[in-house]
């Protein structure tokens, strides 16, 4: 059976290209918006882009670490 258009490898490659282009555009757009920096950090170039990216990576890693400590089989409470 033919796969739907959305999940064909060619489409996925296309979507990635579009996604990366849009990302580049949003970063470029910050050249054309005036930033109302209220703190030192948020005045840096494309602050939301790098800050969002890094904080997400950090959250996934923290979750991963916590998971090692706190993960149990999903029938943990039902065993007895």
């Amino acid at each position: 059976m033919r796969q739907p258009w959305l999940v064909r490898p060619g489409t996925i490659r296309l979507l990635w290209v579009i996604f990366l282009l849009v990302l580049a555009l949003t970063v470029l757009a910050s050249l054309f918006t005036e930033v109302h920096a209220r703190f030192r950090l948020d005045g840096s170039f494309a602050f939301n882009a790098w800050y969002g990216f890094l904080s997400c990576i950090a959250m996934v890693l923290v979750a991963k670490l916590l998971g090692r400590l706190l993960h149990r089989k999903d029938n943990y409470y039902d065993r007895d």
Binding site: P4, V7, S55, A63
Partner: protein
Amino acid sequence: MTGISAMPPGLLLILGALLLPLFGLRMRAALVLGLPLLTLALIWQVPDGISLRVPFLEYELEPVSGDRLSRLFGTIFAIMAFAGGLFALNRARIVELVAALISAGSAIGVAFAGDLITLVAFWELLALSSTLLVWSAMTDQSYRAGMRYLVIHLLGGVVLLIGVIGHVADTGSLTFTAMALDSPAHWLMLAGFLMNAGAPPLSAWLSDAYPEASPTGMVFLSAFTTKTAVYVLLRGFPGADILIFIGLYMIFYGIVYALLENDMRRILAYSIVNQVGFMLCGIGIGTELSLNGAAAHAFAHIIYKALLLMSAGSVLYMTGKRKCTDLGGLFRSMPLTTICGIIGALSISAFPLTSGFISKSMISQAAADETMAVTWLLLTAGSAGVFLHAGIKFPWFVFFQKDSGLRPPDPPLNMRLAMILCALLCIAIGIWPAPLYAILPFPVDYVPYTRTHVVAMLQLLLFSGLAFFIMLPYLQRTLTITLDWDWFYRWLGPRVIKRMSQVLSRWHVQSRSGFLRQLGNLFGTLFLYHGPQGILARTWATGSMVLWVVILLGIYLVAYYY
């Protein structure tokens, strides 16, 4: 004031709900859809100020007391009762519909309660009807989860009641108004409120109980309990600094636990805690902008969270599966559910043109205006994390990722209509925020759509999306749950009690047998001397008696002689 405006709007829903079982399917449908609309009309008839006073013991109750904040929350609760009723129509058990309308009515009752006794009464009714909603799934798991839910909420209710009694004893006033954290009574009231908000450490009830409700039941549950808590905190403790810290904890707790979770509805349950965290931050910051933001966010959140849960509920209803490991690729056969789920996901992530964008940004803006740098940075990271755990993770794992081979169709008409209604509301509020801004508690002087803000939000969210796909190998789902504070009362507590009862019963057996042995010895000795054959129990002859008397008299005589 008398007449229609003096009728507590919530009472209409509660009394109407009790009539539901008396009618057939058609009339029942008319009631389930009609009662919330009628209630909505009543809510907008309530004038500012107290419109009903009822003497009770030596107090005077004020069950109907209206202002902008009451009307805002009453409105969204009524809208939610309508949308949830539409979704559940003909699909849910009758007990579930009754419980849902009663909990909506109790939430509206709390929103219009002018005094603390009325508030506590509706508060407890909300806890009971919510428990019934969990139970109406009629499974073993839902029974036990509902029990745990009930225990926590009755505890919260008692803590609140003690606080209220203390407050009345301290001040002599029953009026529910803004309070400072200056007495133990007020701290207890805050604790009681926070327990319903899903604040730490007792937050696990939410992700424990809600996902055990029926596909339609969780849609109702998500709306009333936590948002009633947001309402009472908005009215009772605006500007309490501690709420900022609690809110920030809840934001990151929700994100991390949702990232670790495999059950799609539990992911959404954790994200309720996360979203309520944003609202608590707004309440804690305490400026007009942030309080408006918290109220607007509660309003927007109820709709998009209902939409997300409707889409998850449709998947569960059609497939009977709720684990991400069993799902995937459903966009092929459930296009409408997929699109509505994505609209809900974009709204919760505060994408421009959706309702989350125009509400959540007010809270961040307020933090920035107050130059709370750390709070602002954490709120921004939290916004990125929302996209990560709810905005992408939920739709990705349910509707895309791998092909699970499941090909369920979209759900029945009424469920589809309910999803379309909520999706339209999410977008309408996002594009046209003015009507919502007009009914917020304070006048709004905030423009969400500036070029800077839109670009900043797009950067934040799209780069979070990039991070998600880069980190995808770390996010693959496993058949696991994540331990939470409820481990203490679900695992440790029962084991401690079991161990204690073992030790105690062994000690009891040992000490009892020792005691019985001692007692046996005592009786043996007594029996030896006093028993039928005992030396002291022998029958004595009269002669020996006389002999002893003679001897005694003789001794007496001798003693007297000297």
